[in-house]
């Protein structure tokens, strides 16, 4: 096993703990935005697709990578937009609403 791989496994395991610890006791109200925001964040896979779309030498790989960029971008852009829309619709109340 290479050193990089071992480091990657460290990153994987520690990030899993981090993700879990960050998210204990989330109020139920935020379950949907959290899910859709987190999913939009997983659209960061776009950078992997970008590298391949810019650097591949074969046509097939380019097609796959370009499609990958498209799907991931749709996920990022749409996901963060829809989360923002949901969060924007939550109003605290108490003060009079127009």
């Amino acid at each position: 096993m290479t050193g990089t791989l071992i480091l990657s496994i460290y990153v994987f395991v520690l990030a899993a703990f981090l993700g879990y610890e960050l998210l204990t006791k989330v109020p139920p109200m935020l379950h949907t935005p959290l899910m859709s925001g987190a999913n939009a964040m997983s659209g960061v896979v776009v950078i992997g697709a970008l590298v391949l779309a810019g650097a591949t030498s074969g046509a097939v790989a380019t097609v796959f990578a370009t499609l990958g960029v498209a799907f991931a971008t749709a996920n990022v852009v749409g996901g963060f937009m829809v989360t923002d829309r949901m969060l924007g619709s939550f109003t605290p109340g108490k003060k009079e609403r127009s």
Partner: protein, 473 residues
Amino acid sequence: MSAEEITQLAYLVPVALFVLGIKRLARVRTARTGNLILASGVLVAVVITLVEMGLVNYTWMVLGLAAGGTVGVITVLRASATSMPQVVARFNGFSGAAAALVGLALFWEEVVFPDAGEGAIGLMGAMAGLALAVSVVIGAATLSGSILAEAKLWGRLSRLTRVPGRGPLVVGASILTVVAMALSLSLVDVRHAALAILFLLLFSLAVGFFAVAPVGGADMPVMISLLNSVSGLAVAASGFAIGNTMLIMGGIIVGAAGLMLTQIMCVAMNRTLWSVFAGGLDEVASGEGDSYENVVGSDPEEAAMVLEAARNVVIVPGYGLAAARAQQPAADLADALAEQGVQVRFAIHPVAGRMPGHMNVVLAEANVPYDRLVEMERVNSDFPNVDLVIVVGANDVVNPAANQASGSPIAGMPILDVENARRVMVVKRSLSPGYAGIKNELFERDHCTMLFGDAKQVLEDLVREFRAGVPTP
């Protein structure tokens, strides 16, 4: 320091933004900024990547970004508040698809195109090769599972839950997946390896399809959050395959978040993940033949008079409210009551609706302030003090059978104890059972009356009658 090392260091910035963003997204006051921080994290990651790549051919990248951006914006603009579960399911599928495509592109780039007379394991190393195959498998399964989940949420394909022999189908597709995985990684002839990985894609799609097929109705929140979790794992697998720490971290944080939500949903239903996948509930307990006695029907006019006497009202929304798009009249009813000085609250069951937090999103869209929403644990002890409970389109989550001894398929499931309130009104289309398929004795209780009809229509009538009967402020 090499350019690659600088890039790796620079990725610490978006990683930190992710951690900060998720942390803020989990608090009500800071959620919106948290979301923006997450978005800026992805943007920074993209910029760093582009800078590191230097001058390359941008044609395909720009094409992909433009097409994807357009699809994303259009999807959101066309979505309504009630179709949020569908939108979330679709975006889940998108990230799965992206992870699978990254795996495929990498396979063609590293193995098929060079045609080096060596298999994937020889060229990429066993771990990277395995990660590549795993990202294709999980990504594709997430894609087909999410498409099916979305179709189910639109109300199509609901009969799929009763497909016979689906167990063997899942097992069979899984075995074929493993075989195709081994072949695609080990075959030396690249044409055969390419064929094998395409079969791998096909079998993985089948696994996702057959796994989600039996899940439906009230189990949907569990399914949606699980799909969310695995889409993160697919991204983390792509990260391993291309050796990108950013993807590993981003993916696994999403995976952990989704898993935590899945766990919350399972606890809220008193169901194990396994039983959700097995599909449906025990057939033995099916109560379709059960008949109801002493059910008291009512009409909006009569109900409005009951409302006028109530000082403490709790509204219990369920999926039926979202399906009938009755959130606005429900919000109007709450406003009308509040104007008369009545204490009015919405009691939210954790799995009401079709995704985690569904009711919160639907009611927020109708401008119900969130301090009017109360969680199950906090309202249950208070029901004896409540004059009137109005149940709108919910069934299993208020079924007292859950509190009784075992034997009922929902025994042990935490419910809203609305039967303890002084009066209960149930707005429902008919006496048909909920997802659990069992009789709800609540409907027969002396202090329970039924308002049959479309939830939106009934609530609108109720608001009108109520407003007509009380002095306007």
